[in-house]
Structure formats: C-alpha cells, structure tokens
Subunit: 137 residues, 2 copies
Amino acid sequence: MSDSHIQVTASLDPCGLDEHPDCGIRDVLTRVGDKWSVLVIVELASGVRRFRELQRGIDGISQRMLTLTVRRLERDGLVTRTVFPTVPAQVTYELTALGNSLTHLVKQLADWSLDHRETIARARADYDAHHPDHEIR
Amino acid sequence: MSDSHIQVTASLDPCGLDEHPDCGIRDVLTRVGDKWSVLVIVELASGVRRFRELQRGIDGISQRMLTLTVRRLERDGLVTRTVFPTVPAQVTYELTALGNSLTHLVKQLADWSLDHRETIARARADYDAHHPDHEIR
DNA sequence: CAGTATCCACTTCGATACTG
DNA sequence: CAGTATCGAAGTGGATACTG
C-alpha cells in the first residue's frame, strides 16, 4: 500500500456516497465538465461582459452554445443576466457571489491541469503505444 | 460592480486562455466532468479495489461504463491496473500518486457542491418558475 | 446586438448477451 | 471474476438561417 494514500476516506464522503446514489455532486460536476461553462466562468471572472464580448473572448464558441451555456449558468444562480431595453438590445452578464466562489475551485483545477498536463500527455502516449488498436478514445 | 469580484483575473489565466484556445484544461475537466470518473476516484480514494468491488460501491454503474471509465483513468495515469493471473481472473485498481493528488481537488468540488446544493436547487426552481416552457434542461 | 429555430453529426450511456 | 461485443436511445454540440 502506498504512503501517498492519505486518509481522506471520511472527508471525501461527506454525504454518504456509499449509501446514497450521488447526492447531487454530479449535478455540479457535469456543469463544470461541459464544454464551455468553465471558459465562460473564467471570462466573467474578469468582470462584466456583454454577449458579443463573451463570444469574442471565447475562441470557437457558437452563438447557440454561448446562449445555452449562459442560460444554464443563470439558471443555476452562478451568473446574472441584465437586459437593457435599448435598440439594439444590450445584455450584460456577471458572476454572482456564488459563481465567483466557484472560480477559486476552477482556478485550482486549471492549475492542476496545467501542472500535470505533460505528465498526462505522456501517460496517454505510453498507454497508446502499449495498447495499439485499443479503442478507448 | 460587486465587491465579491476579487482580483483573480491574472491567476485565473495562467496559460493565456485569452490567447490560446484552451491549453488542455478542458481535457482534464471533461474527464472530471464525465458521469462516472469522479465516483470511481472517490471510491479508490479509500484504497485498492477489485473490479466487482468498484461496481458494487458505485450505485448504478454498468459493467461497460465501469470498464470504460477505469480504462480512461488508467490511460491518463491516474489509476494503475494490476492483473493477477489466477483463475478466475483477479484485477485490482489503485490510484497513482497523480490520481491521489486529484482527490484533494475533487473533494473541494464535492464540498462546494454540497455547501451550495440547496442554493442551486432553489435558483433552478426559481428560474423555472419565472421561465415556464423554456427548454434549457 | 442578442438572440431563436432547425437540422444534423457525433458522442455518451445503458441494456443485453456472450467469453476466457 | 472481469471483462468484450453489439445495439439503440438520448444527449451534446456545430452550422446555418432567420428575427425583434
């Protein structure tokens, strides 16, 4: 048994994952894990943004996906959407306090990804080399 | 502008998200965000597990998805897979040091989810109440 | 500008059946 | 026990065209 396995058992299961299905954690994780949410959150972490500003700031996102993403974030209470009834319309997005509190965790995840980016890439290359024609993805 | 928006701008973009597409962070996030990975990681955080043990410990996971999930985690270097050539076969899974380092972040995410679980649920109910027949999901 | 509406491609997931 | 193989349902994302 490895020493690196510190005792996180109890604290890792604060809601009884072993008994209950998933206690809604997946709810949040799938939001964080979807293709654009984190990028939108990161972009909004810099401050208020308009729809087009967001789209320009996030490389490759389509109008449709930006709409869907900000709507979901708004629904979850992570982002506020403010409409100014001007012509043409003007809409701004801003992180809520809740959304902002998530940015800290997102940042840590981003840092972790960055720190181990190459290690993971090498692990994958290694795996693929030793397991040719093995379709995992 | 809200006081809650502390200055995380610079540190949130350690790899130039604004210039580069996504610098591989999404790679990790989608892994964390997929339906079963985190549950498997949590389960393995308690120690070594065999295939069936994992399946029994994770409510609702199918054989196929467990296989796919542990394979991907193995490929990423987060989990080691050890085969004992007994009859019947015996295979154990264990977090690597890298995988274990991720558990800390996963735990924080889980805690965050738990802390704000009800807030989010209320935000959603609210949103849905004020936006009837609005298909977001 | 800030969206909606449609359609389609692709992926993910679950269920079931079978195997060394 | 620990998988693999196959299939189909559902979800997710992209491209394009249109609107107040």
